[in-house]
Symmetry: C3
Subunit: 319 residues, 3 copies
Amino acid sequence: MKQFISVNDVNDINALAAKALAYKANPLVDARLGANKRIGLLFLNPSLRTRLSTQIAAKNLGMEAIVFNVDKEGWALEFEEGAIMSGNTVEHIKDAGPILGQYFDILCIRTFPSLKNREDDYSEMFINQFIKYAGVPVVSLESATLHPLQSLTDIVTIKEQLLATPLNKKPKIVLTWAPHIKPLPQCVANSFAQWVNAWSEAEFVITHPQDYELAEQFTKGATITHDQDAALKDADFVYVKNWSTYSDYGKVYENDPGWMLTEEKLKATNNARVMHCLPVRRNVELSDEVLDSPHSLVTKQAGNRVWAAQAVLSELLKA
Amino acid sequence: MKQFISVNDVNDINALAAKALAYKANPLVDARLGANKRIGLLFLNPSLRTRLSTQIAAKNLGMEAIVFNVDKEGWALEFEEGAIMSGNTVEHIKDAGPILGQYFDILCIRTFPSLKNREDDYSEMFINQFIKYAGVPVVSLESATLHPLQSLTDIVTIKEQLLATPLNKKPKIVLTWAPHIKPLPQCVANSFAQWVNAWSEAEFVITHPQDYELAEQFTKGATITHDQDAALKDADFVYVKNWSTYSDYGKVYENDPGWMLTEEKLKATNNARVMHCLPVRRNVELSDEVLDSPHSLVTKQAGNRVWAAQAVLSELLKA
Amino acid sequence: MKQFISVNDVNDINALAAKALAYKANPLVDARLGANKRIGLLFLNPSLRTRLSTQIAAKNLGMEAIVFNVDKEGWALEFEEGAIMSGNTVEHIKDAGPILGQYFDILCIRTFPSLKNREDDYSEMFINQFIKYAGVPVVSLESATLHPLQSLTDIVTIKEQLLATPLNKKPKIVLTWAPHIKPLPQCVANSFAQWVNAWSEAEFVITHPQDYELAEQFTKGATITHDQDAALKDADFVYVKNWSTYSDYGKVYENDPGWMLTEEKLKATNNARVMHCLPVRRNVELSDEVLDSPHSLVTKQAGNRVWAAQAVLSELLKA
């Protein structure tokens, strides 16, 4: 593995997920693999799970991890080629990137979309410029359109469940839109769709209100419906997530609380386990009764973030 | 020890203080005790001494310490059960707590009172919810009403002085209110009162202007007077601290500079040593002449924060 | 070495630069030198290179490095003797300094000038008060008027070039003012001038528009001219930097883009290599064509920050 930006950087999803579960069973088995290696965790946006889990994963591999909140501890970076920097940006990625690449063996970066201009966000200029200039392997801690460490965790969590309680058929996985009060990125949903499609070991259904379609480049292969009830029928896993509109980009049209997942709705499923990347707006996206029920995998899922990150860093260190 | 939230978590104050002084004499004697253990230091409010001393204490025990400024690096947490999260809070402690408990072996948290609603603050909902959901030992880095790491340090500092210069009687300890420009929590004063009362090896007097009483649950056992001069007479230790009003909660009624401790006032004492938790507003709470005199223990006291924290973490690791 | 605040703390510049280059060749040769020593990196202002390079240098020497953003994680410090602290400052350096000195073996601090009052800034009260009260060796991570870790790096980078491509004469080094959109400190330019003059192995020319003179205490010994073209003639190294006015203090009078260094201007030089401390405003201070050309040393220069810091910390540890 040369970098970890999307599922396209992964040769064998099942092998990578198995590696994550092996680290879960034995966190310190490779405690010397990253000795004298340094990883930089750069945040242009806030983070809880992603930061802590990646930091812990790095330490488990013996790496020195340094967190740098670029937005708060540093200054605004410029990503546009040829910019005349007479505005608010203080340093160009063309200068910062190669220097960070000298300081660190692996660089991880989180950078959110603006949600103002779809073409800009979907060009992934920020992370692409970062990769172009860093000169060392780059790991996405969530970019404008994708969140691959989350998605690998999601596959790991599903596989872990299937190993404990095998099904005699392909699992039915449903990604359902949920209400929220603010316009959110499409990253987690895009990325989950991309990974489940690439994994191809599930029946995969996406359900959302009209006007909330995701980018076809990520969803292609999934069944897409606006009928949540039909989608949930016989589901084995329900992944709940809000995202903002894609066509008329970055808007919140609809906040129909009817889309919130409830225990009542779960009755149509095959005793489905419920997933969410967190943070979750309780009683807006998901009801307390679901989150506090045995159906919920969200705590296990978040715990698995460590092992997914550790598997990825391990692959990069071995490359 | 299962947690460290108040003096009620301590079996033997003298033994714990002795342990702290033993670490002061030999900081690295237990440098392997916390190997492969991870401690999370979570701040919902700013900190200097508490953060650095706890971080250093953890490292002295071989633990990996990770600082996370929840308010600045993360987002606002919700603590209310059943909340419909359509407001400013982004993540519920019911979700964040168990995840942090998976990531860390010990969790430390600082959370200040609102000073708006006394019942809410004194219910200690934030730290109690945190304890309820974390599932691992929790250490208070100051909560809405108490600051036990500070108070243990205070006892350690007093004992250290008494060991160096024994008295032929119980020491007289006076906690005196001091002026300040802003409404401050009652935590340090409450907690000091709670610990000195539980320790029960001193004559303990609290003095403050009318309307500045503290919660009786913590002060019970102490002599309380509004006459500062009478209180200071023959004192061996004078603990200086401002706090805001308790009954008409969180107000500053009075800023009589006459309550500022001066060298002149110290003449009535038994050559008393002067303590303060810091930060201190010089020439408002305490005069330069006192702080810069040999009477002042404040630097030694702050230095002892490391050893108090190390004793507590050591007990938690051994439990 | 007892501290590192300016070139005056250095006995032998060449020996220190050689030590830095030796660490570049073998970063971990002294990996145990700082075992069980702790270094505090205190920032009153933001930083990227200085923070990361010093943190990495400390780790390479086996020290435990703790970063503390005083302005963001803590509170405002008071530096004025005798202050009545009824304003915005929360803690006096007289109290914070000795405590930090108890917590750390070496203290590093960054504190910018106000650019409002020249006498205040040039008195270097902040860092001097810090040194006075810390009681342990202090390293400047940039102070009101100087930036010695940058300047040592600059000398290291020049020497490295001269070792690779020796000249048959003293190198001609030109420090040239560049346009910027905001008033910047004079630190980097002052400090570079102070070091090059102390090093005394170069022909040293400073060029800037009228009214942009630097403090004579640092420039004395250099040739100073307002004619940039004349200055650049036959230059071997061109150091580009903006600074604000000194006499009518802290102003931006002039933004003549004619002062921006371009490839065209470099033609008059002896194929000069171009330096800048970064961050650089591209196409304001320096054109893309220069920064992206083989003339530019800025990435190498920034990389050398690690080795310069490591040489300094090593000297302090050995003292």
